[in-house]
Amino acid sequence: MTVSQPQTYFEICQLHAAYSAAVDSNDWERWIALFTDDCEYKVQPRENHERGFPLATLALLSKGMLRDRAYGIRETLFHDPYYQRHVVGQPLIVSDDGDLIVTETNYTVFRTKLSQETTVFNAGRYLDRVRRTADGLRLASRLCVYDTEMIPNSLIYPI
């Protein structure tokens, strides 16, 4: 493990901020643009993760699949409208080999449905592999491992 420079830490924080801003404003193009071309994005119950079960609630294995999900959200899934609000903690930099940075970061997602109070929708941590690219840091993979034992009905937007 190399000790990351403050600059790297700052850039990782920026990546998290950009991600939250994208998903909280339903800007799926911006969300997709934060990933590398050969990316993976999964949302997985902590139970499966810790017991070695491969099933994920969402398992998107390419940028194409991310776009398929975005299309699904926009065009095919019927659901109650809601806002989501991410609050993301301080990243832990696990390793950094100069090309790939491995990080873990706690997150909470609040959900607000129209005419309803705000509730905690999903809590967990991001296990990220972040690649340095010519365009800046991009997510090579993001695994959202969530503690939330019961999804409050459905999960439509990416976490």
Partner: protein, 419 residues
């Protein structure tokens, strides 16, 4: 002036038949308790899990039958015990882990310990405690451990699936399912070793029956679910059949995928049909027929009251209905594969799982519509829902333009509930 009180004082099912279901059938808490009693605790087999979840001696899984917490355990002799998770002493739900391995079942409160059959082994201080040459306390002389075991459920297994019943007089599982439903059960679960792929859990704020109805309703998939209609996975013009047991309580919806895509009468005016929709990553629908399908590409089986067995192309799962109050249930998905699956097939099942579960392209919205139906029921319980597509009768059909399975379920429900 409103002719009906909004909240009927004495709910009565006035209509003949079962095609018009009173909203109060979903909202009345007394009726709900009677449902627990008559469907979940008497006369019926409820799903508790898969044998593959507890492969080794001492493995256990905590789950529920209705609202009652139970523990399914693998005994030393390879058999399966299901006991109620309530200590015989002070009633404590002693098992807190959801899974694990134990040599015995111990209640931490006073360390009453039970063997894996649920029999009480011993209790601390049974013969009192010696102090200054005299014995203090202890259980009465006539206290017998054999009188204080855990409540044991009757257990039946078939094809790797474990069912349990609090009612030891319940009919054999095979009779409970009936020959027709049993044949579809055996098609999916023919004795092959199952491989657990993982769980999904969601809490749906709606009456538990709505989930049974959702999978007895072939009307909605080709309308609500864009993916189904656009890719021909489930469409009103698919070759299909609907089957029930003799009581109309269980059902199978059997469908063979059509060509999809093209414009047809059945998609005319269906706004969810998207002619130009193209999946970017084709792996989402990389369907490979398996020999055991024997034709149909999807068989959705509702086993009343507690479980749904799903085969939708290469995705197979059980969906456990765990009611918690008249207005809510937990819906627990166990995705699995088979021992002889290639790594490629396992990946295929995992990728197709994107269609199902709480975030699924064709399942997330099922939970949503159930929630909103419940909201409608709550606001005017005097009113009724309609299930009259295809007529008023309860009958097997060779098409899916019908709500016959829902009528069948309420035909049975009315008899058992005596309403």
């Amino acid at each position: 002036m409103n002719k009906h009180p909004v909240f009927p004082i004495k709910p009565a099912w006035e209509q003949a038949g079962s095609s018009r279901i009173p909203f109060w059938a979903y909202t009345d808490s007394d009726l709900y308790k009677r449902e627990l009693e008559r469907f979940f605790y008497q006369n019926h087999w409820c799903y508790v899990g898969l044998e593959a979840e507890i492969p080794n001696h001492g493995d256990f899984k905590r789950t529920v039958v209705g609202e009652r917490s139970v523990v399914m355990v693998r005994r030393e002799d390879g058999g399966i015990t299901v006991v109620e998770n309530v200590c015989a002493h002070r009633g404590m739900q002693f098992c807190r882990e959801r899974h694990g391995n134990r040599k015995e079942l111990v209640c931490p409160y006073h360390q009453w310990n039970y063997n894996l059959q649920g029999e009480l082994q011993g209790v601390p201080f049974r013969r009192g405690v010696k102090q200054d040459g005299k014995v203090n306390g202890g259980m009465p002389k006539d206290f017998k451990t054999e009188d204080h075991g855990l409540t044991r459920l009757k257990v039946a297994t078939r094809g790797g699936v474990v069912f349990a019943s609090f009612d030891h007089d319940v009919e054999p599982l095979e009779d409970f399912l009936g020959p027709e439903i049993l044949s579809y059960f055996d098609r999916l679960l023919n004795g092959r070793q199952l491989k657990i792929l993982g769980y999904n859990r969601q809490r749906i704020p709606g009456n538990w029956k709505l989930m049974q109805e959702n999978i007895k309703d072939p009307y909605h998939p080709g309308l609500l679910h864009t993916w189904f209609v656009t890719y021909g996975l489930w469409r009103a013009d698919n070759k299909s059949a609907l089957r029930m047991d003799e009581h109309f309580r269980h059902a199978a919806m059997i469908s063979t995928r059509g060509s999809g895509g093209q414009k047809a009468e059945v998609t005319a005016g269906v706004t969810s049909f998207k002619e130009s929709m193209e999946i970017e990553d084709k792996r989402l629908l990389d369907i490979v027929p398996e020999p055991w399908w024997g034709g149909p590409t999807a068989v959705m089986m509702t086993v009343f009251p507690s479980v749904i067995f799903q085969q939708q192309v290469n995705s197979v799962s059980t969906r456990h209905i765990q009611p918690n109050g008249e207005g809510s249930f937990d819906f627990v998905w166990t995705h699995f594969g088979f021992e002889d699956d290639t790594e490629e097939m396992t990946q295929r099942r995992l990728i197709q799982a994107n269609l199902f579960g709480p975030a699924g392209f064709v399942s997330a919205d099922d939970g949503e519509v159930i929630e909103f139906s419940q909201q409608g029921f709550e606001q005017k319980p005097f009113h009724r829902a309609l299930a009259e597509l295809g007529g008023l009768e309860c009958e097997d059909t060779e098409h899916m333009v019908t709500e016959t399975l829902i009528r069948g379920m309420y035909n049975y429900w009315r008899k058992v509930m005596e309403v």
